[in-house]
Symmetry: C2
Subunit: 191 residues, 2 copies
Amino acid sequence: MEGPVPTPARTSLEAIVAAGRGIVDTEGLDGLTMARVAGAVGVRAPSLYKRVDGRPTLVRLVLEDVLRELTEALDSVAVTGDHRRDIVAVAHAFRDYARRRPHAYALIFAPLPEGARPDPDLLPRAAGPVLRAAAALAGPEHALEAARTVVAWAHGFLSMELGGGFQLGGDVDAAFSYGIERISLALGPAS
Amino acid sequence: MEGPVPTPARTSLEAIVAAGRGIVDTEGLDGLTMARVAGAVGVRAPSLYKRVDGRPTLVRLVLEDVLRELTEALDSVAVTGDHRRDIVAVAHAFRDYARRRPHAYALIFAPLPEGARPDPDLLPRAAGPVLRAAAALAGPEHALEAARTVVAWAHGFLSMELGGGFQLGGDVDAAFSYGIERISLALGPAS
DNA sequence: ACCTGAACACCGTTCAAGT
DNA sequence: ACCTGAACACCGTTCAAGT
């Protein structure tokens, strides 16, 4: 009278994403193969397709985990009320995250295939602290443009720093401080 | 008395790089497979290894062609002597190139494997016009930091624009003009 | 001297077969 | 219900064999 006994699951979506995240952190996106992830959770590659559509979806889930972590890091920056100081602090927190998790950071602005694009709400959500500080500094009507200017500069800087684009030497820490100083001045009300 | 007759070459390194460049321009780096390139020059994939070490080297040669083209585009920007106008003009030429050849542009700051890194002189060479305009604007002792600030911002902006990172809407052209305006002001002598 | 097919070790993905 | 080996269509790369 018993139906067929369902075999118990040997892994889970959470475990798969966590394993993928670990691989990305240590080896970067290229290391994220289905066989590698499967091995890390104790199954064979075909079994992953019971929980994930395919590799693009897995990349998206890993990226969304990265964005969650970045959001947390930026949200934890204290707001002092000195708008210029605030935006400098957020920029440094952004850089700290990128340097701590360079492979994860690279994923955020990587040119990803359609199916690997994250939930479009998550990037604006992560940028919230920047947007608020920029609005306080540049005024509400220029908030979006000002925030984009800061994020674009910071990302461009980190992209070059992490990619080894700063070959002319010089003090990279000082260059970052110089840049955010100048930009925060430029976004403020004409003085 | 005749030795073995050497068979004539059916292709050349130049043709291979040109074919690779064409594929990158239309389909991006992912489309650049050895079989695709071989087909475009009329041979089979293994024959490419007579002229190129392997795919990383081919990627490097294509990228160096891109840098040569970008250098040409930036060098052709007229210098007016109004330093602020000059740096704005170079920034717009930079963006124009990136929008005209988005896949080629993406290659410049892509995280490439060791063997695909371009000659380290070429990127500073391409940045020459930016460096000169930044030096004129910010003074010689801040030239490098100022140039890096401009390039970082412009690249970050384009990386977000081309990658679809501007989901909050707004006028992207206006945002670019706003950004370079503000940054060129910020780099100038304290007024 | 150059080009080729066959082969190797990998990819992502599908699917029939096992439990 | 889940997992697997085998298979397929691709990769990059090597190499013996053909001309």
